[in-house]
């Protein structure tokens, strides 16, 4: 069973449906006991960083999430959920993230001058540091669906994929059992479902 953390941010309908589609049970939860029972955990998120970080902290779930990560349980942040894994974000101010992945979140506009913001649409993945197990069922060059105006920088060590949008935009990161996708696997067709499937095959304590 996959636990999808519910901290009042965004619409989780498609995310739950995408797990159902690949035959995995997904439960939307704000209960630490369910996180404990889950085989893996998704940290979703859309909207503004500060608002989401405040809500996540207010949910009281952060200690439970850290306890599960400590045990080696696979955890994946999606979109803003990925950004929350980082040290900090400079989206309208300076705000602390969970500090699980080194690096920070900066405006795409700082790196790209003549392209449209948000970076919205289908873009191809380039793998980094070899092919991460998350990508077991997809190929380099496959496209995934992005919608974001801020991006992760200074995270080269943990970056496992990027996409070209006037600059190399961080698409996915991984540090041990903690992973994150800037794109939306639940909106990325068969490629996205294949990434979720690979994530569901990871076992506690066995990820790279």
């Amino acid at each position: 069973m996959t636990a999808i953390i519910d901290y009042g941010v965004g619409n989780l309908f498609s995310l739950v449906s995408s797990f159902e589609k690949i035959g995995e049970k997904a439960v939307i939860t704000a209960d630490p006991a369910v996180l404990e029972q889950a085989e893996r955990i998704i940290l979703p998120g859309v909207g503004a960083f500060k608002d989401a970080a405040d809500k996540l902290n207010a949910s009281g779930l952060v200690p439970a999430l850290f306890a599960q990560i400590e045990k080696g349980k696979p955890v994946m942040g999606i979109c803003l959920g990925m950004q929350l894994l980082f040290d900090k974000s400079f989206e309208y101010g300076e705000h602390d993230g969970l500090g699980l992945i080194s690096g920070e979140i900066r405006p795409i506009a700082d790196r790209v001058s003549d392209l449209k913001i948000p970076h919205m649409g289908w873009n191809a993945l380039t793998f980094e540091h070899g092919k991460h197990p998350l990508f077991n069922y997809i190929n380099e060059g496959d496209c995934v669906y992005f919608v974001h105006s801020f991006c992760a920088v200074n995270c080269e060590t943990d970056r496992i994929a990027w996409s070209e949008y006037g600059a190399d935009i961080t698409a996915a990161v991984a540090k041990g059992n903690v992973m994150g996708c800037q794109f939306h696997p639940e909106k990325s067709g068969d490629v996205g479902l294949a990434i979720l499937r690979a994530f569901c095959e990871m076992k506690e304590g066995s990820t790279c």
Partner: protein
């Protein structure tokens, strides 16, 4: 590099696609869920469901269908038609829509786009505009293209983007249904004044029209069409291959 999006649009009334779709001349399919799955398999980058239902019973059917589609199709879904309030946004977003397109609703209440963008994010609020030339001026039309609002299209679109529209669907009434190609001068005029994605709609008759669109106007992000996809006059897989051959970034 970000790819150019190809978007089929389905008109839905009382839970059925208005004009059934011919699959290789074999059978007529009117189930929006089945069609959405078909287009997703063919390589559509996004789908638009346009609700042309008049009754509230039909609205309920529409959201049921939307929910069923979102359970089975994992590409972005945009919903338009009958969006007049923030509650309408809420109603379709809860059923799996990713973006909501507003047309007449924004003309009746110009604050709607801004309110929705604030609540759900700019990327979620799409301003759809029907535009026609009147004495050489670009004018906004309402009520499915039947009523001239007198609004200047460029000013209207700029205002929409300023208040938070994250994307523009520009439908040229002058080229719509003619199948003689997209309205390039009109699209260029809009692309020159906005910094958000622009989706071209109205006029596509064949694959070459899409190639001309993206070659001539690199600022256009997507091409939308209905009947040419539904009647199999243009197969999305062929279109994507041809785009690629012509050096236009496409997801194949």
């Amino acid at each position: 590099m970000i790819t150019k999006r190809i978007i089929p649009c389905l008109d839905v009334r009382d839970g059925q696609v208005v004009k059934g779709v011919n699959f290789g001349g074999l059978r007529q399919v009117a189930s929006p869920v089945e069609l959405a799955e078909y287009y997703s398999r063919c390589g559509a980058d996004e789908l638009v469901f346009y609700d042309i239902t008049a009754s509230s019973d039909g609205r309920k059917l529409f959201t049921d269908i939307l929910r069923e589609t979102a359970k089975n199709v994992f590409i972005p879904l945009t919903v338009g038609g009958g969006i007049n309030t923030v509650d309408d946004f809420d109603r379709v977003l809860k059923c799996g829509a990713d973006k909501v397109s507003v047309n007449s609703g924004a003309i009746r209440n110009p604050a709607l786009i801004g309110e929705a963008a604030k609540l759900y994010g700019d990327q979620c609020a799409v301003l759809s505009v029907d535009v026609k030339r009147v004495d050489g001026e670009l004018r906004v039309y309402a009520k499915g293209g039947r009523e001239n609002t007198g609004l200047d299209a460029i000013e209207w679109i700029k205002r929409g983007v300023d208040s938070g529209a994250g994307e523009i669907v520009l439908n040229s009434i002058d080229t719509d249904g003619v199948k003689g190609g997209f309205d390039l001068p009109m699209l260029e005029a809009v692309c020159n004044v906005v910094s958000v994605p622009v989706i071209a709609s109205g006029g596509a008759g064949n694959i070459a029209d899409f190639i001309t669109l993206f070659k001539t106007l690199p600022k256009v992000d997507a091409g939308l069409a209905a009947s040419i996809f539904h009647f199999g006059e243009v197969e999305i897989a062929d279109l994507k291959q041809e785009m690629k051959k012509n050096g236009i970034p496409a997801r194949v």
